[in-house]
């Protein structure tokens, strides 16, 4: 999550000679990436990408805390000048609030205080300017203070009009399905089950907790008394509610990352002080502070050796101790106590190692290549054959394509697997064939040139009962503008290149308008492939070559003719299809005798044998 942090605001906490640009660079290296620095009203506003584990740093104080650790380690002066929060003294304790919490896990800590004599008005310029620089609209002094504290301390808070809370009673509970609440933005929201809400004495919902307050209890111009409300909610429930309502507020984003348990009261103190200063507010109740969860001290052993093993360099124990203590960890005889603001984030030695090494600086670590044993692995030939086939097809003029794994209903077979949450109807099913999408590519590119040849080598996905789908690599080929026999030739060349003996033909689909396609289970093909080559001894005798054209009667097919010719005599060295015109089929034949020089008398004899064989199936030499 990105937060906007004005550099001048950071200086409420630290005094340093580093400028915003330098601070941003150092922050990026050790803590969080500063994506940019925006100039707003003469101030440098840092846009910081805070990692999901660091809810504590979604605040000015959080960023200042980090800078206070890293700036001095990068040659800058830095001194903590943040003020301690002042405990308030109630002017009276006339007001009170009855809080009923149905389930303690909903709100681990519940804090509130009533303020009287509140004079609603505009905020001072400084507060308005700071809020504006982080993109928050100013909405009057009370609301502004709650927003200000959210940015300053990372603690979202809410202000109710105390007099609008019927019976001055709050019942914190989970919502029932279908309950409705109108939030501050005027939108009526229908709630699912399990959203944390507050009901007042009259049974109205007055807060969509942690996300946004309700309209019926909002602070307005006539407000005299304010209930200042500062909580820690159950992060999981807040996240689920905010997601399912589609209402991702700044408050919700902070609550769902977890709140500094010990930061709640100081934030409350500070806001009371501010409201006293700018709105004349006086505390008129006791401090309400209900802890529903007891947080034990979390301490973790410091394993110096392990930290060094992870870092790969020698970081001295003193340096480790100093780093952790600067980060707010309290050292107790080989253990450190995790600071309250890192309570959820730090669990194990590896976490401490990360803290120590990042502050040391990843950029200060050397880079080393691997040493040690080289794993012995079996070579997977499929990658080799992939390369062979892709290169072959490329050199035969093919374009390689990659299409999406999902496609529309019309493109898949009946058993195709469906995506539960597709992006669109066009991406509803896992593909069961490469061809439909490749034909779409062909159509889309039809004006590119007359002859187009495309292929894709990718997985297709077949349903496999309850188990993971079968997912195998298929080779899909589509062409436009070439004749079928040419495509067949290409497929045969693939077989030749892969050393495949089995020449059972592939099924060619006709997509009309001169478009053809073939799909081959590549994994099966690879099983048949071989890199083995056997040398047939060369002879010093010459061969004799000739073409023979036969007239083929109906019903006789090429393979039959071919095998009959080959069976005629072993001196037929090579036999190839050369041409066809109507039913006149021309073979190119090469004769070779390995024992002696073959003569025209020999070939005449062989030819006679061929004619005899072919005669039987009605195939005759074309004259």
């Amino acid at each position: 999550m990105n937060v906007l942090i004005p550099y001048s605001w950071i200086k409420d906490y630290i005094k340093t000679n580093a400028d915003a640009k330098e601070a941003a660079r150092i922050l990026s290296l050790h803590c969080f990436s500063v994506e940019r620095i925006n100039k707003v009203n003469g101030d440098d506003v840092l846009e910081v990408e805070v990692t999901p584990n660091r809810g504590d740093a979604l605040s000015v104080i959080g960023i200042a805390r980090e800078l206070n650790v890293v700036l001095p380690r990068n040659g800058f002066k830095c001194e903590w000048v943040g003020k301690k929060s002042e405990v308030f003294h109630p002017a009276s304790t006339d007001d009170c609030l009855e809080a009923v919490i149905k389930d303690k896990t909903l709100v681990p800590r519940f804090c509130a205080v009533v303020l009287s004599n509140v004079k609603i008005g505009e905020s001072p310029q400084k507060i308005k300017a700071r809020l504006e620089s982080v993109g928050i609209r100013t909405l009057g002094n009370v609301i502004d203070v709650t927003n200000y504290m959210m940015i300053d301390k990372g603690q979202p808070m809410h202000a109710f009009d105390y007099d609008k809370i019927e019976g001055h009673k709050m019942i914190v509970r989970e919502s029932k399905e279908g309950e409705k609440v109108v939030t501050l933005d005027g939108v009526e929201r229908k709630l699912p089950e399990g959203v944390i809400v507050i009901e007042d004495g009259s049974g109205r919902l007055i807060d969509l907790c942690g996300i946004m307050g309700a309209k019926n209890s909002e602070v307005d111009e006539s407000t005299k008394k304010v209930l200042l409300f500062v909580q820690a909610y159950d992060p999981v429930r807040i996240r689920k509610a905010s997601m399912s309502l589609g209402h991702r507020t700044e408050a919700a984003l902070r609550f769902e990352k977890g709140i500094d348990f010990e930061g709640i009261i100081p934030a409350l103190y500070d806001s009371v002080e501010m409201l006293h200063e700018i709105a004349g507010a006086e505390v008129s109740s006791d401090l309400i502070d209900i802890k529903n969860v007891e947080r034990n001290v979390k301490s973790i052993p410091v394993d110096y050796e392990k930290i060094n093993k992870i870092a790969g360099i020698d970081i001295k124990p003193e340096v480790v101790d100093q780093t952790l203590s600067d980060l707010g960890f309290e050292n107790r005889n080989g253990f450190v106590v995790v600071p309250s603001w890192r309570y959820e984030d730090i669990e194990i030695t590896e976490d401490l190692a990360e803290e120590v090494i990042r502050i040391y600086g990843y950029h200060n670590l050397p880079g080393r290549l691997l040493t040690g044993e080289i794993p012995v692995t079996e070579r997977d030939d499929s990658y080799y054959w992939e390369d062979v086939v892709k290169d072959l097809l490329k050199h035969l003029g093919f374009f390689e394509c990659y299409t999406y794994s999902c496609t529309k209903k019309e493109n898949v077979s009946a058993t195709a697997l469906k995506i539960v949450n597709p992006l669109s109807e066009d991406l509803l099913y896992l593909k069961t064939s490469l061809l439909p999408q490749l034909v779409e590519v062909l159509d889309k590119n039809q004006s590119y040139r007359d002859k187009i040849k495309l292929f894709e080598l990718s997985s297709v996905y077949f349903s496999n009962g309850k188990d993971l789908p079968l997912q195998q690599q298929f080779l899909g080929i589509v062409t436009k503008g070439i004749v079928k026999i040419e495509l067949r030739g290409i497929l045969e060349v693939i077989g030749d290149e892969m050393g495949i003996q089995d020449d059972s033909p592939f099924e060619i689909s006709d997509f009309g308008n001169g478009k053809f396609g073939v799909e081959i289970n590549f994994e099966e093909l690879v099983k048949k492939a071989t890199k083995e080559k056997t040398y047939i001894p060369l002879t010093n005798f010459n061969s004799i070559k000739e073409d023979l054209t036969f007239s083929i009667p109906r019903g006789v097919l090429y393979p039959q003719v071919r095998s009959l010719i080959l069976d005629s005599d072993e001196r037929i060295y090579k036999l190839g299809f050369k041409d066809i015109y109507k039913n006149a089929l021309t073979f190119a034949i090469e004769y070779l005798d390995r024992e002696k020089q073959i003569s025209s008398e020999d070939t005449q004899e062989i030819r006679k044998k061929i004619f005899e064989k072919l005669e039987k199936i009605g195939v005759r030499l074309k004259v």
Binding site: V236, I310, L369, K394, T403, L468, P469
Partner: protein
């Protein structure tokens, strides 16, 4: 330098003709050499121009023969006569050789359109294109291979267990939202969870560990899917995932290997940096940046303060090792998983401004690679 000129250059070096020739004791042998050399040169002649050059060299005004005649004045009178006679014989012989050659020489394809024809480009055989993703994958594999990494492939449609749980991301963990995962309409399995289009190649980590062979240097390259379509995301994309597990693997190894990759893939002048990050399956975790190819780290419109994010990396979390049946007290490891397309786009000079081109299969795009 044309082949002919090259030949002359060599032959002069082999047969220093002029000065040494004159003081040489055996004149006739030198004459034979000279003729032999001429014949050899003529064998290499392929055009009239070449022939004219040779004529000039031998029988031109400042040619070898005239140079030899001019040396006569240096000789004593008795030697002069014999020398002159021999030289005249040589001159006749050389002229004959050249004339014979000239008469029989016919330049191939000579015609009045020669010049035009020679200016034409060659007729190219029609060659296609492997896809940019294939090219990138090949380069990646080539770079990691010498370090002992072996390429593998794991299911593209996989159990939630391997995509998340085994990677220390329990059900309901917010980190799982970031992956915006596609779910397949198949029954929920008590142990394995739902079936998903794997949102990253990290699903291969625990699968690789469960093979039970150590050490590991894995390079898993595969298709992934996420519910995102915009200028830098497509619903289908490729990732490459490196995983090393061995004794004594530490952060400096991760840095060394990624640096090695970056220098080889992007060029020796490019730099990477590691930034702290947070992934559930690594600890510590890093985001790896490469300096901007346009501004070289100064900061420009295209980058974030001089850097581009390449992807995530980190030291394998002990819980992930445990899920893979490996004792984290004895073994440690690192992993990284980056988008193939994205990484390719960071190459200097690629200038692809929208990742969606890569799956659009527009041949006008593909022909550029």
């Amino acid at each position: 330098m044309t082949p002919v000129n090259f030949y002359i250059y060599i032959s002069l070096a082999l047969f220093p003709i002029t000065d040494i020739f004159v003081i040489s004791m055996d004149i006739s042998e030198n004459h034979e050499n000279l003729k032999h050399e001429l014949k050899e040169k003529l064998k290499c002649v392929s055009s009239r121009q070449d022939l004219e050059k040779i004529k000039l060299e031998y029988i031109g005004k400042k040619g070898i023969l005239n140079q030899l005649f001019s040396k006569m004045t240096d000789l004593a009178a008795n030697e002069r006569k014999d020398f002159g006679a021999r030289l005249n014989v040589l001159k006749n012989e050389i002229e004959t050789i050249i004339n014979d050659f000239s008469n029989n020489f016919s330049q191939p394809n000579t015609s009045e359109y020669d010049e035009l024809y020679n200016s034409l480009p060659g007729k190219k055989p029609e060659i296609g294109h492997t896809h940019i993703i294939t090219q990138a994958i090949r380069e990646i594999v080539d770079i990691f291979k010498p370090l002992g990494f072996t390429r593998v492939r794991y299911p593209e449609v996989d159990w939630e267990y391997f995509a998340f749980e085994a990677l220390n991301m329990p059900e309901d963990h917010p980190a799982r939202d970031d992956w915006e995962t596609f779910f397949v309409d198949l029954p929920f399995d008590k142990k394995m969870g739902r079936v998903v289009l794997t949102p990253h190649t990290s699903n291969g980590q625990v699968r690789e560990m469960l093979k039970g062979k150590l050490p590991i240097r894995m390079l898993n390259i595969s298709r992934c899917g996420r519910r995102q379509i915009d200028i830098s995301h497509g619903p289908t994309f490729f990732q490459f995932e490196g995983l090393v597990v061995d004794k004594n693997i530490n952060t400096t190894h991760l840095k060394g290997v990624l640096n090695y990759f970056a220098k080889n893939f992007f060029g020796p002048d490019r730099k990477i940096r590691l930034r702290p990050y947070d992934f559930r399956f690594t600890e510590p975790s890093f985001e790896v940046d490469i300096d901007c190819g346009m501004c070289h780290g100064k900061g420009c419109k295209l980058c974030k303060g001089g850097w581009h994010e390449l992807g995530g990396a980190g030291m394998v979390h002990p819980n992930v090792l445990k899920a893979g049946g490996i004792d984290p007290e004895k073994y440690s490891g690192f992993a990284f998983g980056w988008g193939v397309e994205r990484t390719y786009m960071m190459k200097s000079g690629t200038k692809i401004d929208d990742i969606r081109h890569i799956f659009a299969n527009d041949l006008r795009f593909l022909e550029q690679f």
